[in-house]
């Protein structure tokens, strides 16, 4: 058993201390800070934050006991509060409650441990190769073979065993990394399962399966939505030969966690976990809309650059998100999905796929989700 595991390595030297932002990212001089704390927070704001936390605690109850009840009775209140942002200190817990991952965890005791300790994965080397390339500027993940990197490795390896069809795909590390900043390894693993297998919303695994089928579908849908919503810009994109795969793949594959300011990514995740992938489309459209008048003037190269480097004011959650919420997409998304499926009649193939997959996971799950 001479398998190389990341646990066999000595931790590397602790990186030299550097100024960090509120979320633990190394501060960069010229770029925006991740926490958007350019402005000092006033005493008033602190008080407001405290009041919010108290409200949220009441909503959750002791150990989450009141949550289900609250969500059933007052879903719109929950939705509204989530859209305003989950208080950072409660984020980890709430994410697990709204995603259904906590139920999975409780139903499957010991499974995570088994996956981490006893199973081996064909993706181990791929995962190791990417570990130090995931949130490299965050203090938790910076130290080579340090606790952050070990947890990240364990979660990704466990997932790659749990779902061998998906295995490990570049980009998943950013999901797991984001989760690990708010919860334990085991909790993060089940949140990953809840998302990819679709515990509450549509499964995300298609983003990572062979052929990246869901990426292709989402890009198709986004392209059409953008053209319908912003026809002038759509025309400009056609002229400049720009398509969404040039800038938006990572929006979907990592749910904005790859390169967006962290404080914005978190706010998007709050909504994403409660409302589903629609918010990714909405935020994307809102970004295009916000920058519309600039984008429409730019030639190809500058356009690509602008689409990958939105200005700081566009990425202020309190401006961008209300704009995103006001865009309605659900009906068109459904129609476009059907258009896409008509275009690509590969249904037979994908059902075969799912059956095989089910078998491989049933080994690990004691009971299936409802």
């Amino acid at each position: 058993m001479a398998k190389k595991r990341i646990d066999d390595y000595e931790p590397g030297p602790v990186p030299p201390p550097a100024p960090l932002d509120r979320f633990g990212f190394v501060k960069r001089e010229l770029s925006y800070s991740h926490d958007g704390s350019m402005k000092e927070r006033s005493a008033y704001e602190y008080e407001r934050e405290e009041r919010r936390v108290r409200k949220w605690r009441k909503m959750i109850g002791v150990g989450g006991s009141d949550w289900t009840y609250y969500v059933k009775r007052k879903p719109h209140v929950v939705k509204r509060r989530i859209r305003k942002g989950i208080p950072d200190c409660l984020r980890g817990l709430i994410w697990q409650l709204i995603s259904g991952s906590r139920d999975l965890l409780l139903m499957n005791p010991g499974v995570y441990e088994q996956l981490v300790i006893y199973e081996t994965s064909a993706s181990e080397l791929d995962i190791i190769r990417d570990i130090s390339r995931t949130f490299p500027s965050h203090v938790f993940f910076r130290q080579r073979h340090g606790p952050g990197q070990r947890s990240l490795y364990n979660v990704l390896k466990a997932y790659s065993v749990f779902d061998r069809e998906v295995g490990y795909v570049q980009g998943m590390g950013f999901l797991a990394g984001l989760m690990l900043l708010y919860m334990s390894e085991e909790d993060a693993f089940w949140l990953l399962v809840a998302l990819l297998k679709g515990a509450v919303h549509a499964p995300m695994e298609g983003l990572y399966l062979v052929g990246l089928p869901l990426v292709q579908q989402y890009l198709f849908q986004f392209d059409n939505l953008a053209r319908e919503y912003l026809p002038k810009l759509g025309e400009h994109f056609t002229q400049e030969m720009i398509n969404p795969s040039m800038y938006a793949s990572q929006w979907f594959i990592t749910v904005f966690s790859y390169s967006f300011p962290f404080h914005l990514a978190l706010r998007i995740w709050d909504v994403f976990l409660y409302e589903g992938v629609q918010i990714v489309f909405k935020v994307g459209l809102a970004l295009l809309k916000y920058c519309h008048d600039d984008l429409i003037k730019l030639p190809f190269e500058k356009l690509i650059y602008a689409l990958r480097n939105f200005p700081e004011d566009a990425m202020d959650p309190d401006t961008l998100l209300p704009m995103a919420y006001s865009i309605k997409v659900s009906k068109r998304l459904e129609e476009l999905k059907q258009d896409y499926e008509k275009k690509n009649q590969k249904l037979v193939q994908s059902t075969e796929f799912n059956e095989k997959q089910q078998q491989s996971q049933e080994r690990f799950l004691s009971s299936k989700r409802s």
Binding site: D126, R129, D130, S132, R133, T134, P136, S137, R142, V169, Q170, G171, G173, Y208, V210, G211, L212, V215, Q216, E240, M241, N243, S245, M246, S249, Q250, I253, T254, Y258, S259, P299, F300, E301, I304
Partner: protein, 215 residues
């Protein structure tokens, strides 16, 4: 719209960077376009894009480079970018034999998705890691000759041969292009035949822009 001086060029060449994940494609690109190397670089998701304008054989050439994610599964999106590329830099890591063994699979990818006359250069990167070298220069050299590729070894970290590798492939593309336009009796460096949008005479008014043809 009048073109600014820094945007003037005689030719626009589209080049793709391919090869296994982690071999250093993104760092070769950042070294070439911005003279930067990043030990803390993120893995590429999908495609990245950068350009640099430089002198090649006395001409001003704009290199438009598409950097792709190396993991096999990403080929579903990245292979669309091969189309219309005039050159491909196929990178492996001299410390990782598997990345060299996979070169033949990448060549097949190019054959399946790229234009048949694409210029290909094999690049062995990370030569600074001397004590870890696991692919001999001669082996790669021999392989490249057999397959008709040009070959060079680089270190993005130490900036060794990076400039030279891009210069070489761009010059090679230039030679092929200029020969073509001569034989087809076209006046000066205009576009090659049949509406390929890839090569652009910079002096034309409505210069056709980018050549990315993926849809």
């Amino acid at each position: 719209m009048a073109r600014r001086a820094d945007e003037e060029y005689d030719y626009l060449f589209k080049v793709v960077l391919i090869g296994d994940s982690g071999v250093g494609k993104s760092n070769l690109l950042s070294r070439f376009t911005r003279n930067e190397f990043c030990l803390e670089s993120k893995s590429t998701i999908g495609v990245e894009f950068a350009t640099r304008t430089l002198q090649v054989e006395g001409r001003t050439v704009k290199a438009q480079i598409w950097d792709t994610a190396g993991q096999e599964r990403y080929r579903a999106i990245t292979s669309a970018y091969y189309r219309g590329a005039l050159g491909a830099l196929l990178v492996y890591d001299v410390t990782k034999p598997t990345t060299f063994e996979n070169v033949s699979r990448w060549l097949k990818e190019l054959r399946d998705h790229a234009d048949s006359n694409i210029v290909i250069m094999l690049i062995g990167n990370k030569t600074d890691l001397k004590h870890l070298r696991a692919v001999a220069t001669e082996d790669a050299q021999g392989y490249a000759e057999k397959e008709g590729l040009s070959f060079i070894e680089t270190s993005a970290l130490e900036a060794t041969n990076v400039e030279k590798s891009f210069q070489t492939i761009l010059a090679e593309i230039y030679r092929i292009i200029s020969k073509k336009s001569l034989s087809s009796d076209e006046p000066g460096p205009a576009s090659i035949k049949e509406g390929k949008t890839l090569v652009v005479g910079g002096s034309e008014e409505n210069t056709k822009k980018p050549c990315c043809s993926s849809s």
